[in-house]
Symmetry: C2
Subunit: 337 residues, 2 copies
DNA sequence: GGTATATTTGCAATCGATTACATTAATAAC
DNA sequence: GTTATTAATGTAATCGATTGCAAATATACC
């Protein structure tokens, strides 16, 4: 590995000059600058980022904590994160927790061990171990699309989940639906509560009774969508419209309903949440809420970098606008169903 | 930030002892070891990974270079990579190139600048800039599911693409199909050629003439699938069976054909490649080739770690077995179509 | 008990950068 | 031409660890 010394030798200057020529070229005369560049070129020198990080105390990396990489929605966020991070000269460390707290603590620990300068959290769990909890204060953290549970309020980039489900609910109510089912993802998160609140709110003003019994599910997966569809259709008072709390669930629901011979939307309307890519290409295309995932990922980078740099945040919560996409999986109620 | 000095102070020992107590506990007496642990506990000390990396020359990170994060197939590989890496104490840096060579060079450069110890490449392009090409020799690289073009032969973990398309072709020929279309992804890659070879081979033995004209497409995307379907159906001699070179393309093809009123598989059979999750849940479920993406990702980590550690590889190419999934998007030829 | 050997510990060099401070060279001012 | 400023460079300390070597301590052996 060629080090700065080799460049020094070739250019006939000190390490200080080499370092300056590369990081603060304006501090070095044009003549020697050129000499250094040539020496760098010849020797194929690459500064050791780690060494420089030790000295400067900045790793120029961010770590992204994902509950489950196989959810395509997260990929859109991560893509935005990766892009923005790169533009700012940061690299992205990836950590898939698979829902395991131990794994989560390790990943969050990357910031504590100087491997990363900040953490972007795509889940709602408190990412530090009990031991490290007091250290969390010093760690730049921002969560995206989820709100971190716990005493400390971390900055968050989120969707207006409440308003989004309100508009979905209104959309379905306008079509005449009165009997609803909900297939939820993880039920202990804030976004679950927010989404539920939006639905309940519309029901209240429309005089539709809400019943805990109409909620099934408990994980954001296609299989849960299938299971949920079966569970809802087995009820004596089966719904004519189903809220799926993400598009993966909706995919499973649509698939399973069709398999049961139930037509969408003629018999049952199905709506999703997130707008993953395939949602537009299934049969029927899914009515869903479009989250600006890419932009939210980008914004998360800006915010966490702001925290890292010590710039005070204007606000701790940033609410991004949703967009309801009325596609063909929802339609007028079928009174004969 | 608490450093080792603070622990020294609390435990009343030297930095050497602290370092040893943490990395090589057996070199330290039980008594002082406990004292050090207690001091670590009290102070909330976390060793600075970067500092240790500078000294040891190992960053304990791998960088993954992905052409496009939004392709769900890559996520399965990455998930395998992430898991295996974590088990080995490595962390994963993510780089999305978006097909830009400049970006690719930067990402590959992470290994040259000691940010990562090795590179896992999910694309077929040569990842180094012309300038760095000679440095590539020193960089542990392995490619997964693609073979890197260029003079140097990098180790590769790949599917038996040739045999896989052979079996797809046989599957369709057995159903009586004689008129085929192919919607390709990137055409300049080795896997494209391998897959094509498999198809051509079956055609040759079955007496089916092959025609470059039956190949359309040029990118692995849903939209390309739609476009390809339209292109193929506009031909005077339109096919009754379509090979899509990945599942994203197949999704678009299925969607578009159905929109054109063409029934699958009654009128046209469609087969994909990769077996992404949703392939099983679209209508009709997709006949496709299952790649053990997760395992291939895992294996890639093992191989690149072997290179890093200087253990000679038994073989430079590892071919993983495919699995043909005959689902409902393929069926007997319709002579009246 | 005395010597040989093994176990623990500490000192100080080192990894490859960055940077405060000092020094030298160049330019400006009069 | 001399002095005051500014620009360019170098020396050496530093970041926070790891580790070779030596010193100190403990254990084994006769």
């Amino acid at each position: 590995m060629t080090t700065v010394k080799e460049v020094c030798r070739l250019a006939g200057v000190s390490t200080a000059t080499v370092s300056r020529a590369l990081k603060n070229p304006e501090l070095v005369s044009a003549k020697t600058r050129e000499r250094v560049f040539k020496a760098v070129q010849e020797s194929g020198y690459r500064p050791n980022m780690l060494a420089s990080s030790v000295k400067t105390g900045k790793s120029n990396s961010l770590v992204v904590l994902v509950p489950n990489l196989s959810n395509p929605f997260f990929m859109r966020i991560i893509q935005g994160i990766e892009q923005a991070a790169h533009e700012q000269g940061y690299s992205v460390l990836l950590g898939d927790t698979q829902g395991e707290p131990a794994r989560e603590h390790e990943i969050a620990g990357m910031v504590l061990s100087n491997r990363a300068d900040g953490l972007i959290h795509l889940d709602h769990s408190f990412p530090f171990s009990a031991n490290d909890a007091h250290l969390a204060e010093r760690v730049p953290v921002v969560s995206v699309c989820e709100r971190i549970m716990g005493d400390k309020e971390f900055p968050v980039i989120e969707l207006d989940n409440y308003a989004a489900t309100r508009s979905l609910a209104k959309h379905l109510v306008n079509y005449g639906h009165k009997k609803f089912g909900i297939i939820a993802g993880q039920r202990d998160s804030q976004i679950h509560l927010d989404r539920l609140a939006g639905i309940k709110d519309v029901f209240a003003t429309e005089g539709i009774s809400f019943n805990e019994d109409m909620i099934v599910g408990g994980a954001y997966s296609i299989e849960m969508g299938q299971q949920g569809a079966r569970d809802l259709m087995a009820k004596e008072n089966r719904p004519t419209a189903i809220f799926c709390f993400n598009d993966d669930i909706a995919l499973g629901t649509v698939f399973e309903l069709k398999r049961m011979g139930i037509r969408i939307p003629q018999d049952v309307s199905v709506v999703g949440f997130d707008n993953i890519k395939v949602s537009a290409f299934i049969d029927p295309p899914l009515t869903t809420i479009d989250q600006p995932a890419h932009d939210m990922g980008r914004r998360a980078v800006e915010v966490v970098l702001q925290i890292i740099k010590g710039v005070p945040l204007k606000r701790n919560r940033e609410i991004f606008p949703y967009n309801i996409l009325e596609r063909e999986s929802s339609g007028p109620v079928n009174p004969d169903f």
